[in-house]
Structure formats: C-alpha cells, structure tokens
Symmetry: D2
Subunit: 501 residues, 4 copies
C-alpha cells in the first residue's frame, strides 16, 4: 500500500491506528532493506509474515505477474495450474539465462534478485561455518554428483590433455559416476588402515601423479564427509600436492557444511595448498528437499566459469527453498542447529558404545570422522552368513532409516569398475559393521528410538527368536510397526542389499 492508500485508510478508520499500522509495516520493510543492502543472513530468523511479504514483493517484479503484460514469446512464464503457481510463490521464470546460470533475466527482475540474494546468503553461511576465505559460490539445481560433473566439464576446457581423475576411494556411487559421466577415467587410490580408520594414502596419490604425468590428470577429487570407518581425506596434504604439481583440486564436501571439522579442512587446504572448488549438497546441510548443491571456491573467476558452463536456465526451486530456510532460521538458528548436531553426535556415540559393549561388540575408534560412527558386528557375522543383512532388514522394517549394515566380502561393479568390499571403502575391512550418523536436525528422540530398536533387533537376531512377544514395546509400535515388521521381514531380506545405499 502506498501513501495514498494509507491516506484513504485513515478516512475509513481512525488515523492514529492506521498510522500505527503504517509504522509497523516499516519494521518489515526495514528487515528487507537490510537484507538487500548487506546481502547477509539476518542474525535472527524472520517470521513468516515478513518472509512472505518479501517473496510476494519479489514475485510481482517478474513479468509473468505484471498486470498489464502481454506475452508473445515462446517462454512467458504462463502456468496452467493455480496449485503450481502458488507453491512456487509465482516465481515461474527460473534462474539464469542461456549463457549463465547466475545471469540476470530481463523478464524476471524478481527471480534474478532472489537468485543473487540466495547466493549471497549461502556465501555468508559458508564463511560462518568455517571457510572464511571463500570467494564466491552459487546454488545449482542439481544434486552433488551432477554438480561435480559440471566442475569436471569446466576443467576439461582448461586442461585439454587430461584423461584421468585421481580419486581416493569412497564407496558412494554418485561420486564415482560424476567422473564417468564427465567422460574421465577415475584412478582409484585405495585407503590405508590406521587403527580402525581408513585414511588417504598420500604416497600412493603422489606416486600416481608422477606416474601418469600432471598434464594428463584433470584433477584430484577428494572427499570430506563419509561413512566411518573411512574419515575425511587429508585435505591439507592433498592440496599441497595439487599446488606443487599444478593440478586442480575438487573437493566433494557433500554433507560437510554441518561439521566445523570438514569446513576447517577445506579452509586449511586452501590456505596451504590448492583447492579449486568444493561442492556441497543443499538438502544434507540445510534441511531442504533433495535437488540442489552449492559450488564454491576461492577464485571468483573460476566459479564464474563453472556457472557459465551450465547451458540454459534452471529451476529456482532449490534456491527458493534455501532462501526461505535461511531467512526463517537466521544465522543464530543455523548455528544452533550446528551446535545441537555436535551434541547429538556425542550422545549417539555414548549410547552406541554402551549398547555395543552389552553385546560384546565395539564402537570403532574413528576420531577423525565428525559425523558418522561404526560399530562392529563381529558376533553376528560369526553367527551365520546372513545375520548381518538380516539385521539391516529388521531395522529397516522397524522404521529405522539410515542405519546401514556393511557385511564383509560384498563385490560390486559400477560402470565397468569392480569394487571388492564395496560399501566399506576398502577391499578387505577386518570386520562387518553397522553405521549410524548424527546429521543436522537429528533429535534425541531419534537416538533413543534407534538404540531401543537396535537392542531389540540384536536380541532377536541372536536368539533367532524374531517372533517372541515384545511386551514392553511402546504402544504405537505394537500396533503399527511390529505387526508390519513380522510381515515384511522375509520379503525384505532379499531386497535389502539394494536398500542400504
């Protein structure tokens, strides 16, 4: 409402009250102005009212929402379904232009602002999370794997002879496929066992660099966040190797923003050596739906090159999600989530430790992994062949999601490459184990339910008494989950192996 509208309002109801309303409106506008001027995440989260006003204001700057617009092009932001328009807050034009996913769209000033502001907020959060010298970043509506592919494709133009990517092994398919899809040959560097931990074999990396010749190597592709007992790669040392041999370095930091340790590794790597880009998932770090990633780096122009490599416009949906989320949380809210995650990691760790000892198992000692834990399943493994996968299946049917059992000796072929001991990041880990992680947003209730159910499952597997009466089980589980569990256990046994990745 403009000045004239308020004046008209004053004639309808008391001027004093309208004026107070007018002043109240200015508080919202003030927050919006600060955001646009500073480009930083507000300390305190906005309430929904300010947030929706802001999104509404942006949306009406897009031509599809102009009251007097007439469209005679092939792409006019028309929407057939009111439900669809509404769920996108009427942002229809997406982000970017043919030439560049970060470019401004003439038809969509509002969407363009949204895109700029989101990237700016996200940059602010990356700094806050520990990578203080990050130079630029952008949100891309593709998951981590495809975003890595985009980085590799960008590097191709700078390194015409390159055929290989050096890759310390991490058993996660999309990391591996990101290289295959980009058309390069992954050179797998097996990890070394130090205590219980699997760590980067730096000597093997350097040997391979020398063997293949730096010019033939597109980049080193390292990883921070991973399942224990693998731990984050030795980023500092890898970055130094990259600097020494003038080889690009791309870091898969999939769910590492949530961990100060992972972020610190990246900051340190960039300080002492070379890191060209680090890529992180939006959903895993910011509690938004799957589908976006952040490509960030220390060299502004290289990040721009990547953004120009994306051909055509792109969905604004992941940007919108993370914008809403960060404005709702504020930086304080996000920091609180990070703190709680850390606390929950300790709690989970302690609870698992206690439980494992009761079953003569052992929490693996993996101090370098700040997110994921592993507990041995030795006694199960000895018990019988399928006991490990059966445990996985049982947990799944009891609505424990994300727990992951790793039996010994699994072999899998991905895009023509065969991995022995697949899922364990090494050909031959000493024992089977179970993974659990403390990821951002985890609640104490998650841990408690997990421990309770794991306890029951372990008991059941051991005694082969899966049909025993479970009297003490809490009530809602009686009705829904146990009943279901009985029915599904057999069905799922076979499908389980597929389910855990």
């Amino acid at each position: 409402m403009n000045r004239e509208s308020f004046a008209a309002g004053e004639r309808l109801v008391s001027p004093a009250y309208v004026r107070q309303g007018y002043e109240a409106r200015r508080s919202h506008e003030h927050l919006i102005r600060l955001l646009l001027e500073k480009g930083k995440c507000p300390e305190n989260g906005w309430d929904e009212s300010t947030l929706e006003l802001f999104l509404h204001e942006l949306a009406i700057m897009d031509s599809n929402n102009f009251l007097g617009n007439c469209g005679v092009g092939e792409r006019e932001g028309r929407v057939a379904s009111a439900l669809v328009a509404r769920r996108h807050y009427r942002f229809i034009h997406g982000i970017g232009r043919s030439g560049d996913i970060s470019a401004v769209q003439p038809k969509a000033a509002g969407s363009s602002l949204l895109n700029k502001i989101t990237n700016s907020l996200v940059l602010d959060i990356i700094k806050l999370a520990g990578v203080h010298t990050v130079a630029n970043c952008f949100v891309v509506p593709m998951a981590t794997g495809m975003s890595l592919t985009l980085c590799f494709l960008t590097l191709r133009h700078k390194r015409p002879k390159a055929k290989y990517i050096i890759w310390p092994r991490i058993d996660q398919k999309s990391c591996f496929k990101s290289m295959i899809t980009a058309g390069f040959e992954p050179v797998v560097i097996e990890n070394v066992l130090e205590g219980d931990e699997l760590r980067t074999d730096l000597k093997a990396v350097e040997a391979k660099v020398q063997e293949l010749g730096p010019d033939y190597i597109l980049c080193i592709h390292s990883t921070t966040s991973c399942f224990a007992p693998r731990v984050p790669d030795r980023l500092e040392e890898l970055a130094v190797i990259c600097a020494n041999y003038d080889i690009p370095h791309i870091v898969n930091n999939a769910y590492g923003v949530q961990s100060s340790k992972c972020m610190h590794l990246i900051q340190q790597g960039a300080r002492v050596g070379r890191i060209d880009a680090f890529v992180q998932s939006l959903d895993k770090n910011f509690m938004v739906p799957v589908g976006g990633a952040i490509i960030a780096g220390f060299n502004d122009s290289f990040i721009q090159e990547i953004s120009k490599m994306y051909p055509g416009r792109a969905s604004a949906s992941p940007s919108l999600d993370v914008l809403i989320t960060l404005l709702s949380l504020g930086s304080n809210g996000y920091k609180k989530l990070l703190k709680e995650r850390k606390e929950m990691f300790s709690y989970l760790s302690n609870q698992i430790k206690k439980l494992s000892e009761a079953y003569n198992e052992r929490l693996l000692h993996t101090p370098h992994n700040p997110i994921s834990l592993a507990v041995t399943l030795k006694t199960l493994e000895e018990h019988h062949d399928k006991a490990v996968t059966q445990l996985g299946s049982m947990l799944f049917t009891r609505q424990v999601s994300g727990a992951r059992v790793v039996p010994l000796g699994s072999v899998q072929t991905v895009s023509g490459y065969t991995f022995r001991g697949f899922m364990s990041h090494t050909n031959n880990y000493p024992c089977a184990y179970l993974n659990a992680a403390s990821a951002i947003g985890m609640k104490m209730q998650d841990v408690d339910l997990f421990i309770k159910r794991l306890d029951k499952c372990l008991k059941a597997v051991r005694k082969e008494q899966s049909k025993e009466s479970d009297d003490n089980y809490d009530k809602i589980e009686d009705v829904d989950i146990e009943e279901m569990a009985l029915k599904l256990d057999n069905v799922l046994l076979d499908t389980y192996q597929d389910a855990s990745s």
Copy 2:
C-alpha cells in the same frame, strides 16, 4: 479413514450420511486406482480435492513422514522450514538414487511412485501429441540445454573416437553451449534461404559427414522449434543420413510438443531413419515453472542408459509440477490447449499481416514454422540506425514480453565461436525483422494488446514523436505503463540487446 473409523463415525452422526460419504470417497479412490493401474493421463482433469488427496497419500509413504520413524543416516528428509515442507507437499527425498535418476528409493516409496507415474503420464502425452511410437522417456530436473549435454555425455561412452557434433545453425545460446559443455566441437552447418525461409542444408550436412568421417562424429544435433524465418530442420532427411552413416541423432525439440507439425517430423524421422533421443522443455510445453526437461526416445535401453548417466538424486520439483498440471488438465484439457494455440497462431498471423501492411511492411512467408512469425522492419531500418533496437526497447518497457527485434549485422562470439548475423540464424538475412510467437497458453487478449502496442510504437518510432499525447490509450496503461515507458526508454536502449535473448 479406515473401516473402523467410518464405523465410529456412524455412531456420531447418522449412519446413512456417513455411508454416503464413504461411497463418495470411493469415487476419488477409483480415479487414483485407474491412474496407478493404467499409468495414463485421465481424460478429464481431476479436481483439486482428488489431486491433493493423492499427493497426500503418496507423501505419507515416504519415510520422513512416518510417524514412528527414527533417522540415523546422513540424509533423512528432515526439513527445517514448515513453509518449505508444505510447498513440496512433504516430498523431501527427491527422485532417483546414486545410480539412476529413474531408480526406486527404499526410503521414499511415495516419491518413487510419483516419479514413475509422472514419467508414465508424460509418455502418454507425447504419444497423444503425435509421436506414437515413442518407447520411453523421463523427466529430468534440468533445462533443455543441460539435458542435451547429458545425452551427448552418454553417447561419448559409446563412441570413443567422436569429437564433433554436426549442428545445423540455430542462434540460441544454450543449444550451442550444450555441446561445448559436453566437451565436443560443434560443426556449424549454415542454413539455406528458400523463399523467406531458412532451411537445413542437407547437402552440406552429408558433405561434412563424409569429410570428417562418421566415427569422429558424436551425432547430428537437429532442431525443431525455432524462431522464424528459420523453420524446423528437415528431420526425415537428416534421420536418413544418420541411419545411412550409422550416426546417432539427437533432436532439440525444445518447445515442439505443443505443435503437431514438430511432433510429426519426429515421428516421421524415426520411422524412415534414425532418431536416438529428442529433448523437450517442461516449462515451454506444459506451462510449468522453468527447470525441467523430458528426454525421450524410441529405444528403451538407450533412454535408460541416459537416465543412469545422471549421477545422484535429483529434485522432484519439476516432476511434481508436471504431474499436478497434467492431472488437473486431463488429456482433454491438454488437447484443448493445443487446439487453442493453433487457433491463436492463425489469429496472430492475420493481425500482424494487417498491421504490417498498414506500415508498408510484410509478414514473412514461413509456412513451415508452426509457432513463430516474423515481420519485416525494412522501413525502420532505412529510417535510421538504431530505430530497430529502439522499437525493441519500447515494446519491452510497454510490457510486451517475448517480442524480439532482429537488426542486421549483429555479430556475437559464443564460447570462442563467432556468429555473423547473430539472432537471425544466418550470416546475412535480407532484412531486419520482428518476431512474435503463438505459444501454448497464449490468449486473444495477448494478441490484441500486442498489436495495439506495436501499432503505437511503430507510429512513435516513425514520427520520432515518442512523447506525443496518447489519448486513446486504455486507462490502466495511462497510469502505469506509459509513465514507466517514458522513464525507461532511454535507460533501456543500451541494455536492450542483451535483453532479447
């Protein structure tokens, strides 16, 4: 509500009424069952009530919505913002898995169903739109350009020697960049002028194939939908060349689903020759927000290969949009939109013809282009140098979006390649012109407003009387648009050239 709930309901209100409610519920369920069983777009659109019930039912099958779930993984579909959860109908897990964007997710049966059904509906619509023998397709949450890149990257693995892509020129940046990004060298085939039309130079294509050698050619990359006076490529003949030389053929059908002519070309091409995949935009054909494309083809396994090439999960947002849209419209609703577009094309064509004659200009004769029209701007061009771009700027500020003026002699360099006569698909088109298109969803009001504003702008440019009083202008424009136009005309003149692509 289950049987027991209805029984309880009967005790609270009259059994007869509850039972009628129960029967009414079955009508909704019946529609849902038919959809799941047939996998086809319903003839009549669903009402919002059925649609939301269906989405709700799917969503509660995802583990993040299980009431008793406990998550101990790194990706549990947690959402920080209720606004975000709500706008995604609580589908958080995205679609696909590490290995394959079409794969089923164990944690998300509902999202997986959503993905399958969407692909199935879209396949049904592609058949209905004219490509009857299409074998498979999938929605990918990337715009057309990046989707073409994915096709090229998939082909790379099958054609290790290939370095070139044969590409009949179309002046649209993202098409061109899709090849660059994939790491290939585009071989530009200039178009030939036939009457007013720019058409595929088949001889030049075949000559180039022979010159480079089929093995070194990744594919022919042809285009259906394009701005007049360029017309769709001669797909049949190109498909025959591909078949003869055993070269893959990828068709950029960006906004061609809306035109029976474009679809017919694809169908014929596949019948008589070879088409491996055709890629179309979701937003341009289905009136949804920017950000998705459909990759379709005649060979099931090749389409599956492409879907397996996408590394990692992906956003479900474009799939959800198109699902909502198609279920709302029904196939009858979509057919009606296609019919109206065709009618609007005739209407636009007639109106432009009339107007152009009044200004001694001419509607170019481009009968092979079913969507886009071009009208000469000869008199303007002769008038003075900047008159053509000035017209473009004036239309833009008067909220005519999508009209595109093409001056002579524009030169642009894209990724190191220089294009003379850029925007006109040829080095030297005989005259400057203006494009307008009749795209799906266009209304008669769009055409009428466009003609009215174009008339005024042409008058103004000619008389150099841009500040004359516009008495007859309709009222809302008096207030908002004209006023704005005066202010912005100068500012925009310089930025305009960037705005029209």
Copy 3:
C-alpha cells in the same frame, strides 16, 4: 519494499529491470488505492497476486503481527497453530468491539479496514443487484435466522408493548425460530392459492393488524425467496400497510440478492411504503461458506442501531470470505453469475417441463417465483403411499442434492406450533410435488445430470423395478453411485424425511 530496498536491488541486478518491476508493483498499488478511495467493487476481478498482497498489507497493520509488539492483555491475537494463522491470513482480532460490531479496533487497524471495506463493497453490490436506494448495511457472522433475531431484538427496545410478529407463512424452520428465539409470538398468516401459486393474503394481514393493534405488533416479517409454489410476498402492499399503521417491516431476503425480481420487490416496497431492514444470506448469494448474513436497510441510523446491538467482537471469517470473493469476481464477474443463473433457470424450467410431460406430470405455473420450480408428483402419489418419499430418498442416494419432495399431509410441530401440510407453506396443497431451484453458480451439467437421474428414478419408482440393470448409465456412476444407491435406499427411506429440510 521501500525506495531504499529498490535502490539496493538495482545494485544487485540491472537497474532497468528493477525499475520495471517497481513500475509493475505500482499497478497493484493503484488497484488497492482505488478500492480504498472509492469503496466500490472493482469492475474487473483482481488476480490472486493483488488480492494476497492486499490482505498481507492489511494483516501487518494488526498489532498481533507487529514485529516489536509485546502483549500484556487478556486478548492479544495469539495463535497456537500456524495452520490456523495461515488460513485466516493472520487476521486474528476479529471485527468490531464490545460496543458495536462495526466499530474500529485500536489493536487491529487492518482488520478494521477489512471490515469497513467489506461492508462498503457489499453495499455497492446490493445497489448493483437492484436495491439502488439502500442506505447502509453490514456483514454479520451469523446465519440469516440469527440475524433476523438480532433485528427483532433491536426493535424490542423501540416498541416496548410489542408481543407479536405478523408472519405470512413460509415453511422454513429457521425463519420461524428467529421469532421464537427473540421472544415473540409469531402470528401465522396462511397463504392464498392463486392458480398454482401461494401468495400473501393481504386482507388477512391487515385484519390481523387491526385485531391485535399496531402497538402490540413488533413488525411484519415478510419473505422474498422461497420454494415454489409459494412465491415472494407482496412486498409493496405489505410495505404500504406497514407505513399506514406505523409498523416496522423486516424482510427475509435469504437468497434473494441473486434475483433481480426479489431485489426489485424490496426497492419498490421501500419506495412506496416501509421496509426497515432486509436480511440476506452470504453463502446463498455470494457462494461462500455458510455462516454470514448481510443486514441492510434504508435508514442509516436504524442499521447502526442493529450493529450496536451485537454484544462483543465477532468472527471476521465471513467478511474475509466475501471480500476475497467479490474482489476476485469484480462486479462484472458477479453480474455474469447473475445472468447465468437466470439463463439456467430457463433451461431447468424447460427441461423439467419436458420430462414431466413424459410422465403425465405438470410443471406448476409459478411465474412470480424467479428461483424455485415445482413439478407435480400426482401419479406417484396415487401409486402408493410412500412412493413420494421413496423418490426423494432415491435422488438423495444418487447424489442429487437439494431436490426436495413434498408429500401431502405432513404435519410438524415447531417450538410448540403445529403446521399442517408442513413443507408446502399451506395446510392443504392440491398435490404432492418435487422442488428444484436454479441458484447462483448452477451449471448446465447440474441440470443435465439432475434430469437424467430424475428420469431414471421416476422410471424405477413407477415400475417398482429399482433393481433393474441400468446399462446406459454413465460409467462413473456405475461404479460409485448406483452401487451405493442400492445399498442405501432402504437405510435412507426412514431417515429421509429429516433430510429434506
């Protein structure tokens, strides 16, 4: 967004585009300003974008949405559920104050504006619908019956001796109860039969006035909209009687706004005689949810007295609904609905006529009733006792809602008063009949389905072959409705009589 925010925006994306967005925003503001200044329903409906912006702007003027508010009262507009806040667009304070439902609330300038504007729009529409000289009106969040009660309670204070209300009989319970609830004794004036029509017995009214004495009569309570064969009361003549004897006149115009005839009667009554207030339903005339009414009149101060009689605040929900509806429709949209209703009345009339003749029945000749029709059920009645109610039951189970069968000889006691021939507005109508009405929003499809189902039901009842196979029935009915019908017919037979009112 204020000036500074736009300036900041210009630094992020191109100034020219931001400025165009800014100008576009002004179109929305312009519409809002016009509304606030004129207080009239816009001719063309607003789009959702303007509407939601407007509601949002109003809502942030309420103290519960102030960012810096602290509340230490007993009623602070706090909301426990975000779903609830959202569905009310964050208007929580309701409308009115202790003293007056039309009064301005200091804590809620936005809600107060909403209330004022709604009343202003509704007044505009009442004029447009035919009562040109209406002086004032207000929306009250109570249905028609309770609103009539409020009028009677207001009159009580002006007519201390009054005990009776003169009431030409209309068989609708809430009209009758509105008088009982207010504590008055209804004096029922039986209607007279003229042709097929039941019309006001003016002589009986006047005789009763003289008999009881004007001072002992609170008011005459007349009715416009009613089920055929009763027709609207003779308002002009009643209004003259009221003027002559100085008796207030309250008109129940429940669903009469939709009919120019009903509105004309009121206008004429007020012109030649006396009408103090006329009351209409929001839901029945404006296609909003049940729960609101409009109290309108020709004397500003009397309407204000009524509004001051409502003790305490009230729900803003009905006002919000009608505001959204009228702004969405615009006056043109509302006029279109009125026009379509009229056309549908003719269509329904013709279709029923045809069908009735095929069954040797007759459409009653009730030219004074512009909304409701009645068709005889003579042959059914003769057939057997329960055939008429059975027909009603069958229609109900076949999802025909609103059709109403009126058997002969029904007797009902309401609040101690016994009505013979209840539902037929007279003690002894010549025959049983079926009612159908053409109300605002009715579609041709409603009529067609109704005629089809009525045909089938009549056939079935006649032949006593309710289980015959219905081969030609359209498909969805096969599955859902017929099946249901078979099951429910028996159950419902008994409950039916309750269902038709």
Copy 4:
C-alpha cells in the same frame, strides 16, 4: 488409496517399499480411529500430516465435494473463489441445521462429524481444565457476549415472568450489553472493597433477590475472569443462593478456562449450588481467532435447549480452528500452555512489583485474581491531570498492547445506564492504576519488553522529557518504534480513552 491402488503401486515400485508405505499410512489411520472412537483430545499433538489427512477425509464426505454430485437446491455449498474453498479445507456447509446448531446435516456428513468431534474434544478439555462434572457443551460461532444473550433468550421461555438479571458489576461493555440485547433489565450489584480487592456483595445480591421476587429474576449473571482489582465472583455462595431461590445461574467465564482457579470455582459452585451454564471465549482460552465461544453446563438437556434456540446453520470456522488447535497441541500441549501461563503470572507479578517499588508505586494485593494484576499510579495522578491517560497512550504507541490505565472519575453511559468510575468496577476506587495480565500464550519476552517500556514511559512521563535520547534502546526500536512514538503520541492522546477497552 485403497487395496487395489496399493497393489498397482507395488507393480510400479518395489512391493516391499510400497508395503512399508502402507503400514506407515496405518499409523495415521490409527490415530484418526482412536479420535473418532474415544472422542477425546489425544495426549500428544498430531503432526500436520495426520491433521490434514483427517480434514481432507472429512471434507470429501460433504456433498459439495462429491465428484458426481448435482445440486438443484438453493444452498449447495458452491464456492466462487478457490482461495476461499482452500482456506476452509473445502468445508462449506457450515454446522447445524435450521432447528439446531448441533444437528447433523444430511448434505454434509463430514462437517457434521467435524462439529461433533470438536464439541467432544472441547468437553474433554473443559474436564481436564478443572470442571470434571460438566455434562455437555457446544461451540457456537459467536463471541462471548452474544452467546450469553443466547443463554438468556433460552431462559426466557422457561421463566415467562422474568424481567431482571442480577449482575455483580463488571466493567466490560459486552457483558452488560448481552443482557440489554436479550431484552432484560440488568440489576447492577456494586462490589465491595476488601483490602485492595473488589468482591461480590453477597448480601446485596440476596437482598435484591428478595426485593424483586425470584420469579421476576431471569437469572444471576456472574463473572469469573476479570481485571484486577476486581476478582472472580464468589461463585459458590452465589450458586447456593440460586439453588435456594430456584433461580438460574449463568456464569461468564470469558477467559477462565486457562485458570485452574476459575475452573475450580465453577466446579465447586455446581457441586454445592446451582450453575446452569458457563460461557467461555474460544479465542481467549484456545489461542484461535476471535469469533467463537463454548456454552457448557451440567445439565445435558438444558445445553441442548440452548443449542436448539440458535435458528439456522452457522459458520464452522471457529469449530475448525479449535479442532485444528487441539489436535495440534494434544492435551499435553494444552496442559503445558496452562502451566507456562501460571509461571508467567508469577514472573510478571514479581517484575511489576520490583518496578513499581522503584517508582514509589505498589502492586495491588489481589490474591484472588489469577490472571490480571494492577499497579497503582498514585504518583502520576498527583502529578497532573492527564498523566495517567498519557502513560496509556505512550505505551500504546510503543507497541505495548493490552496494558490498560484506569484513571479516576471516568463516567460512561452504556445503553442508557450510567457507570461512575467506569473501567474500575466500582464508583470510587481509591486510586488510579495500570492493568497487565498473564494470559495463555504469553512469553517471557512479552514481560521483559513490557517492563522495559513501562520503565521508560514512567520515567518520561515523570520528567516530562518525552524527547530525551534513548541510547540504550534496542536497535529495531530505534528505527521503528521510537520514531513512531514521537509522531503518534500527540495524535493518540485524544483517541486513547477509546482504545483501552
């Protein structure tokens, strides 16, 4: 989705996953079944997913949502605006029927269920809140005042001679008007001062009963929740008087559900004497928007009589709000809110006490008032004439809502009755004072901000330095609130007196 749909789903994605989704769905259904069977508020709040599923399931039982419905009545639940339909979850038919607001509607089984369940939940909560022997209650979409009127109108039919209502004075307009509107003569019983408290003058009540004669008294109309220094009426003793003289007793329990003391008074009154109905606000006790009340009582049939007295259907909106709220909170959530309110009352009390002492004022000793507090403004009053109202105005402009200053000697005439010392519940309270209340939903932040702002205002008023620089003020207030305050103080001074009620 029914069995067949799930089966079809299993063919599209893995049966094991679909089955797990199916089982998960049953958890939601289980909660719904329990609700319908028990009719009690669930202990733990439902999540939005279950809640929306439930509302959706109910809505599709209403005939306006039947897919095959055809409507030929005058009230078919048609909705013109999709926004309106959506915000009401497609419940359009309201609640109740002509005869009874609690009656079941044949056309709307879902809305009818909603109504029944809401009333059932609310009854459960009233018991939980302390009135264990309540027999029946219903939600009515009118605020407290009009609901009291409805109670009085119902009693009228049982007590034909009655003309008076005995009413221990409480200075709240709508309470008073509720009796006027119903057509009765309020007999005001002045309160007696006991210490600082104003309490019921029982002797005066009994004397008045004897003087007027029980038959001529409609009822005693007492009050629980009120502003200090008035305290809840002596309900037990009043109830005994009512029982002794056979006079009905209606209790205005406006915001008393939130206080165990108020509820206890009612429970005790009913145990030892007579209470016919007690009426409470929905918004003030359940944090929903203004507009609904609960009428409850200890005699099932009397409550039914009241519900039958409401003529016609009514808005379902308040019922829907409270249903959503209670299901979201669960009884545990509601109990937590009650507990927090109590704690906040102590906190507020302590903070005010401290502050008042610093200014030589005194927190009035009103131990019987569990919600509202009063602090003297003696020094202000002595200072100068308008200082008290000026303080009120200053607090208002500083976004302190709900604080209420009570100057001495205010006289007001309501519906012809003159009240001396209006707002203070007595003709001549010893001093001016300020009220603040701890109502449900109040946060510690409210208290802290209030105390801070009150401190500043008191300082300013005293020093007459309202323009002094406020350096320590928190920042957002610098910009928005202080600036506003300066502007508005003068404007508001005059309008303030109106603002505080």
